[in-house]
Symmetry: C2
Subunit: 656 residues, 2 copies
C-alpha cells in the first residue's frame, strides 16, 4: 500500500496542468498572427523607437518600398556593379523578349515593352536583389493556348492583344490580392515535385513548338500535345526548308556550347549572357547579306519605334471574354508567383538574406497591373535572366532599372536593326533556354528519396506533354491536393516499447531493442486529431488492440490491462477528436481495459477538460511521461477480460 | 578529453538507426493497406482455416452478405422481437413516407414504394442491426430544390419523376463506387460541426416549408430561404385557413407531447412510434366525418393500389437533363451516407459491435440502385425510424424485412384508407420530426470546446437558412477544406525546456517549471514536414531563433551555440521537407550555430540518408533523446557569432 501511495504521489507531483482560460480575443489574435504573419514581418517597424511615431512611420514606409532602405547606403561601387549587370541582362532581355512574345503570338515589340515598365516598378518595390524582371516562356505559351482559343491571334490580333492586357491585369490584381491578404501559402500548395514535372513538361512542349521555326514551316498545329506536333511535322516534311534548318541548328549548337562553358566556368558567364544577342546580330547580318528572306528564311520584319503606348483603355473588364481573361490571369499569375518567388529565394540564400514572400507578391502584382496599362503582358522573374544578373554581379534591384533604361534606348533608337532578324534564331534561343529548365537530375533525386513525389512529377509531365498545359496543371494540383488529404486523413500510429536501461519509450518497428511492457499497450498518435482522421484513428487504435489480443492469446501472455496513448505529438484536437477519445474510453471500459494518456499538450488538456472527457477518463490517468503512465498502470490495473467481447469501434459523431 | 570521449561513446551506444531499404513493392503494398484497409476488414476471412479454400469462400460470402452470418444462429425469440419492431417501424414509416414524398414534390405513393424494395435489399446486405431504411427529409427537400428547377413538378410530373429515379440511380452508383474503392474517408471530410449546422439549417428550412400546409395555402414560394418564405406567408395572410391551422396545431402539440414523454421514459417508446399513425387515422376520420375537404382542408386524395411498378425504363441516362440528375445524385448520395453511417454507428456503439463504413456504402448503393428501378427515390437510414426500431427491440436487419412486408400489405390493401388524410397532418408530422434534428445543445458544446468549429456550424446554418441548401452545403464543405489546409499549412512549433529533476523536455509555455538550457534552443516540430508547410516551418524556426537572440542580447546571457530540433512528432517528410532541413543547416552554418536532431523516426532517417542531408548534418548530431542532444551540444559546441549576420530564411525549392 505504501508503495502504491508513493507512486500516486509521484504522479501527482508532476501533473499535466490544465491551462487557465485565455480571453477569447487574445486567442483569436494569437492564432491570426501565427496563421498570417508567421515571419513577423513588422518586427523591424516595432523595434524602432519606443513610441516614436515618426521613426515608426519611416520604418513602415521602408517596409513597403525596400528601395528606400538600400538607396540610403548606396555606393558608387554598387552603382557601377548594377550598371554592368543591368546592361548585360538587357543584352539577353532584348532577344529573349522578342522570342517569348512570338511564343505568346503577340507582336514582338511587346516583349520589349514588357522589359521596361515592370522592371522599373520592381526596382522600387522588390525585395530580391538578384531577380531580373521579364516575360516567361511558360506564361507566354499559356497565354497563346488559353486566349488563342477565344480570339485567334491570326484573325483578330487586336482583340487578342486586348485579352492579353486584361489577363495580365487580372494576374496582377490576383497576385497583389494574395500578398495583401497574406495568403502566400497558396503558392506552397503546389508541391515542388508537381512544379518540376509541370515546368519540364511545359519546356518540352515549348521546344516542340519551336520545330515550326526551326524547320521554316508556315502552317502548324494549334495543339500543344506531342502527338499533334509530331503529326504536323511529319505530314509537312516536303515543306521543310534546309536553309532554316542549317541556320537554326548552327545557332543552337553555338548557344548550347556557350551555356555549357559558362556553366563549367562561372567567370565566363558573359559568354552565355551575350550569346543570344550575338546570335541575333550574326543571324541578322547573314540574312541581310544573302537576302535570306527570299530563300525561305522568315524574318521579324518591321518593328515600331518608340516606348510603350498606353493600353489601359484596351482592358476588357466587362465583355463576354472577361471570364477567359480572368481564368488565364489567375492561372498564369500563380505560376508566375511560384517561379518568381522560388528564384528570388534561391539567390537570396546564396547571398544570405531574406525574401518576404507576401511582399514579393504585392510587388509582382503592382508590376503586372502597371504593365497591363502600358502595353506589357505577363512578367515575372525568369530563372535564366536572374542567373545572368547574379553572375554579372548585381548588388541591388537598381540593375532592373538599368536594364529598363537600356531596353528603353533600344525601343527608341535600335528597333529597325531587328528587321532582318531571322525567326529561326529566336526559336534556337527559346530551345536553348528551355533545355535548361528540364531538370532531369531532380527527377532522379525524387525517385531516390520519395516515390510518391516521383509519381506526382511524372504525372504532371505526361499530362502536359500528352494532354495540354491545363491538363498537366490540373493533374499536378489534383495529385498535390489528394496527397494533402491522404496526409491528414491517414496519420501514423505506432506501438512503442521500453528502451533497455532507460525510461524512454520508442517505436518498436524502428528500435528492435525496445520491449513491450507486459499487460500494457503503448500507442503513439502522430498527428492532430480532428474530423478528417478521428474515425480512422479510432479504427486503427482498435486494430492495434485486436492484434495485441491475438498475440497475447497465441503466446499465452499476461492479458491486456491498460492502453497508454502517447499524446505528445498531438498538436491539437477538435470536437470530433474529443468525441473519438470519449468513444474509445467507453469502448474499452466495456472490456475492462483502462485507458491512460501520456504527455498531452495544453490545448488538448483544455479541450478535454471543457468537453468533460477529462472527467470521464479521470485526472489520475493523465501522465507527464509514458514511463510514469506504465508504472502506475502496472500497479493499479486489474486484469482485463479480453477483447473478444468487444469487436467494436464506433462513431456516434455526425449523429442526426 | 576523457569526459568528451565518454559522451561520444554514450551517444554512439543509443544511436538512431537508418532502417534497411525495403523492397519497393512491399512498401507500396503496406501503404495501400494502411490507406484503404485501416480496419483490416478481411481479418475474419484470413483467420478461417489455414489454407482451406472452401471455408475461406464461405467466410468471404458471409463478409459480402452479412445476413448469412446472423441467419445461421437466428432464434424464434429474435424473430418475434424483429416482427414486433418491424411492425412498429412500419406504423411510423407509412405516414412519414407519404409526408416526405410530398416534401420531395413526388406522388405520395412513392414514399410507400421507397419503404419496400430498399428495405429488403438492406436486410440482406446491411451490417447495422438497428438501422431502419427509408426516405429522409433533407434528401427529399434537396430533390425538390435541385430537380424542381430543371422540371417543375407541377408542369411536367412525369419528367420530374424520371429525374428523381435517375438521381437515385446515380446516388446509388456513387455510394457503391465509394464503398468498392474503399474511399469511405470522403465522408469524413465533412466535419461534425459542418454537418450539425447544415442539418439544423435544412431542418429549419423544412419546417418553414410546412407553413404552406399548416396554413392551408395553395400557392407558395419555390425558394427555400427564410426571407422568401416569410414574405410569401405574410403577403398571403388573407388566404390562411383557420380550420387547417387549428387541426395542424392540435396534432403538432399531440406529437410533441408524445415525443417528449417517450424521451423521458424510453419504455413508452410505443407512444412516439404510433403517434404519427394515430394522428393520420384521427385526422382522416375527422375530415371524413365533417367533410373537411369542403372546408379548406386539403387531403391526399386517390392513391393507386398495388406494389412498386418497374421504373428502370424511365432512367434518363443520356438526356440533356442527365447532368442535373448526376449532380443531385452525388450530393444527396453523400448526405445520405453521412447520415446513415453515423446513425448506424451510433446504435452499434450502444450494442457494442462494429459497423464497417465501406460495407455500409455498398449496401446503401445497391439499395438505391435497386430502388431506382422499382419506382423508389433516395433512401438512407433516417434517425427517427432507426431510433424507433432500436427502442422496439429489434435484433437483426430482419426487422427491415418485416417492415417491408407490412408496407407491402399496406400498398396492396390499405391505400384507399389514406384518401381523406389531411395534408396538414403530414406537415405536422414533418415539423415534429424536424424539430428533433435541430441540435441546439450540440451548438452550445461546440462554442464551449472549439470556437472555430462553432463558426463552421453557424456558417453552414446561416448559409442554408438565408441562402439555399446548396449554398449552405458549399459553405460547410468550403470552411472544412480551408480548415484542413490551414491545419497542414500552419503546424505548431514550440520551444522546449528541461523539467526539473528529470531528463524530460517539455513545452515551456505549458510547463512553467521547464527551464531553458543556456546556449541551446530546443524547438519541437509537431507535424509531418512536407511541401505545404516546409516554407512556413523554416520561417517559423528562424523566428524562434531570432527571438532567442533578442532575449539573449537583452538579458546578456550566453550566446546561442546549438539548435536542437525535436523530431519525435515528425511522422513523415517529403523532398520539400528534406530540402528545408538542408537550407536550415546551411543557414545556421553561416552564423556558426550547430544543428542537432533528436529522435527522428525511421522514415525520416531513411529519407535524410537518401537525400544526403544526413551526411550534411553529420551522424554525430543525431540523438535518441533531446536530453542526450543537449548534453552533447553543451560539451562540443563553440560559441556562435550571433544571428544578426544572418537575417535570412530561404527556399530554393521550386527552383526552375
Amino acid at each position: 500500500m505504501v508503495g502504491q501511495q508513493q507512486v500516486v504521489d509521484a504522479a501527482a507531483a508532476a501533473r499535466v496542468p490544465v491551462p487557465p482560460a485565455k480571453p477569447l480575443l487574445r486567442t483569436i489574435g494569437g492564432n491570426l498572427m501565427e496563421t498570417f504573419f508567421p515571419d513577423d514581418p513588422f518586427r523591424a517597424v516595432g523595434r524602432e523607437g519606443g513610441g516614436r511615431r515618426g521613426r515608426q512611420a519611416v520604418a513602415a514606409l521602408r517596409y513597403v518600398f525596400p528601395f528606400l532602405e538600400w538607396l540610403t547606403s548606396y555606393s558608387f561601387a554598387a552603382l557601377w556593379a548594377d550598371v554592368v549587370a543591368g546592361v548585360t541582362v538587357a543584352s539577353l532581355a532584348v532577344p529573349q523578349g522578342i522570342s517569348y512574345a512570338k511564343l505568346a503570338d503577340l507582336p514582338p515589340i511587346m516583349g520589349l515593352y514588357s522589359s521596361f515598365v515592370p522592371a522599373l516598378v520592381y526596382a522600387a518595390m522588390g525585395s530580391s536583389r538578384e531577380l531580373a524582371v521579364g516575360t516567361m516562356a511558360v506564361g507566354s505559351l499559356l497565354f497563346a493556348a488559353m486566349l488563342g482559343r477565344e480570339a485567334p491571334p491570326g484573325e483578330k490580333p487586336e482583340l487578342y492583344a486586348a485579352l492579353a492586357f486584361t489577363a495580365t491585369f487580372f494576374a496582377g490584381v490576383f497576385q497583389a490580392g494574395l500578398g495583401v491578404l497574406r495568403l502566400g501559402f497558396v503558392v506552397d500548395l503546389l508541391s515542388h515535385a508537381a512544379i518540376v514535372g509541370f515546368m519540364g513538361g511545359a519546356a518540352t512542349v515549348v521546344c516542340l513548338q519551336q520545330l515550326k521555326g526551326m524547320l521554316g514551316l508556315r502552317h502548324f498545329t494549334t495543339s500543344t500535345d506531342v502527338v499533334a506536333v509530331v503529326r504536323s511535322v511529319v505530314t509537312q516534311s516536303h515543306q521543310w526548308r534546309w536553309q532554316s534548318v542549317v541556320l537554326g541548328s548552327g545557332i543552337l549548337v553555338f548557344l548550347l556550347i556557350a551555356r555549357y562553358i559558362s556553366k563549367r566556368k562561372p567567370e565566363w558567364f558573359l559568354l552565355s549572357a551575350a550569346a543570344p544577342l550575338a546570335s541575333v546580330i550574326a543571324g541578322s547580318v547573314l540574312v541581310y547579306l544573302i537576302h535570306g528572306e527570299n530563300h525561305g528564311i522568315q524574318v521579324i520584319g518591321y518593328l515600331k519605334k518608340g516606348i510603350n503606348p498606353p493600353s489601359a483603355g484596351d482592358l476588357l473588364l466587362s465583355s463576354p471574354h472577361t471570364m477567359v481573361a480572368l481564368k488565364t490571369g489567375i492561372i498564369t499569375g500563380i505560376i508566375g508567383l511560384a517561379e518568381g518567388i522560388a528564384v528570388g529565394r534561391s539567390f537570396a540564400m546564396l547571398r544570405n538574406y531574406n525574401v518576404d514572400g507576401n511582399k514579393e507578391m504585392i510587388a509582382f502584382g503592382l508590376m503586372n497591373i502597371a504593365g497591363s496599362c502600358t502595353s506589357c503582358y505577363l512578367t515575372a522573374g525568369p530563372f535564366s535572366r536572374s542567373a545572368v544578373n547574379y553572375n554579372a554581379g548585381c548588388k541591388t534591384p537598381m540593375s532592373n532599372a538599368v536594364m529598363a533604361v537600356a531596353v528603353m534606348l533600344t525601343l527608341l533608337f535600335l528597333t529597325p536593326l531587328f528587321h532582318y532578324t531571322p525567326l529561326v534564331v529566336l526559336s534556337a534561343i527559346i530551345i536553348s533556354a528551355m533545355l535548361g529548365v528540364i531538370d532531369y537530375q531532380a527527377v532522379g533525386r525524387l525517385w531516390k528519396v520519395d516515390k510518391i513525389d516521383f509519381c506526382v512529377c511524372v504525372g504532371a509531365y505526361l499530362g502536359v506533354v500528352f494532354g495540354s498545359i491545363e491538363i498537366g496543371l490540373a493533374i499536378a494540383v489534383g495529385i498535390s491536393i489528394v496527397r494533402i488529404l491522404l496526409f491528414v486523413a491517414r496519420p501514423k500510429t505506432m506501438v512503442l516499447g521500453k528502451m533497455p536501461n532507460s525510461t524512454n519509450f520508442r517505436r518498436m518497428d524502428q528500435y528492435t531493442m525496445a520491449q513491450a511492457v507486459p499487460g500494457l499497450l503503448v500507442v503513439r498518435i502522430d498527428s492532430p486529431i480532428y474530423f478528417t482522421n478521428a474515425g480512422y484513428l479510432r479504427e486503427r487504435i482498435m486494430r492495434w488492440i485486436n492484434y495485441e489480443e491475438d498475440r497475447i492469446k497465441a503466446e499465452s501472455l499476461e492479458s491486456l490491462k491498460c492502453v497508454v496513448l502517447d499524446m505528445g505529438a498531438v498538436a491539437s484536437i477538435d470536437t470530433s477528436g474529443t468525441k473519438m477519445l470519449e468513444d474509445l474510453k467507453k469502448n474499452l471500459d466495456r472490456s475492462s481495459i483502462q485507458i491512460a494518456l501520456a504527455n498531452p499538450g495544453s490545448e488538448i488538456m483544455r479541450k478535454l477538460d471543457k468537453s468533460n472527457v477529462l472527467g470521464l477518463i479521470g485526472d489520475e490517468w493523465i501522465f507527464l511521461t509514458v514511463g510514469e503512465a506504465c508504472d502506475y498502470a502496472q500497479q493499479n490495473c486489474k486484469t482485463g477480460i479480453g477483447m473478444d467481447v468487444v469487436e467494436c469501434a464506433v462513431d456516434p459523431e455526425n449523429m442526426v
